[in-house]
Symmetry: C2
Subunit: 117 residues, 2 copies
């Protein structure tokens, strides 16, 4: 059985967790906010709202974008965006390492139900 | 600014995070599933459903309860419940310690918006 750890930071009102991290990653890979959101099953509007929320929360925007245009504009992670994403991924990795023993102890107490996934 | 870390474990289908941990804590303190749920703003039905989900997910039930009765029954954490709660709290504490440096780095990049809380 695989245990997964989901971790969310409450940054004085703004939250940063797996969803925003994935959105940033997909924007970096695909160069488009709308496409990144679509791939995650969210609306165009929601993806933009999340990006604007992040851009406002941080001193330097995390995503640099040009809205509209012939190809619907483009987007890329800024240096700050890449840094926040890297720091977040490290927090998760460190949490998994540091908590491994206690996570294993919890796992050992689970029912032996065949994993349906 | 206070940064808070919220951490959820995906245990092969069942999730265990801040909400269930708080529910277990309140059951331990108050001896009642319904009262614990009510204090957290959830319905009687939802509180019971979460407890049953946990009891099924683990080999030994985490909460021992008697439904109904003159005083609406009582509930208490089992040894397994106390153990899971303690392990979970330790995972969170260890994650906060291990991730402190990267969390601080993220915090340092935030806008200087006065905390409204």
């Amino acid at each position: 059985m695989t245990l997964r750890l989901r971790l969310r930071l409450d940054l004085g009102g703004v939250r940063f967790g797996p969803g925003k991290a994935e959105l940033l990653e997909r924007i970096r890979e695909g160069g488009s906010i709308s496409a990144a959101g679509r791939d995650m099953g969210m609306s165009y509007k929601r993806a933009w709202m999340l990006v604007e929320e992040m851009n406002t929360a941080f001193r330097t925007p995390l995503v640099d974008s040009t809205r509209g245009g012939a190809h619907g504009g483009g987007a890329r992670l800024t240096e700050a965006g890449a840094a926040v994403l890297a720091h977040y991924r490290r927090v998760v990795a460190q949490a998994e390492r540091a908590g491994a023993q206690d996570i294993d102890a919890i796992a050992a107490m689970l029912s032996d139900i065949p994993d349906e996934k």
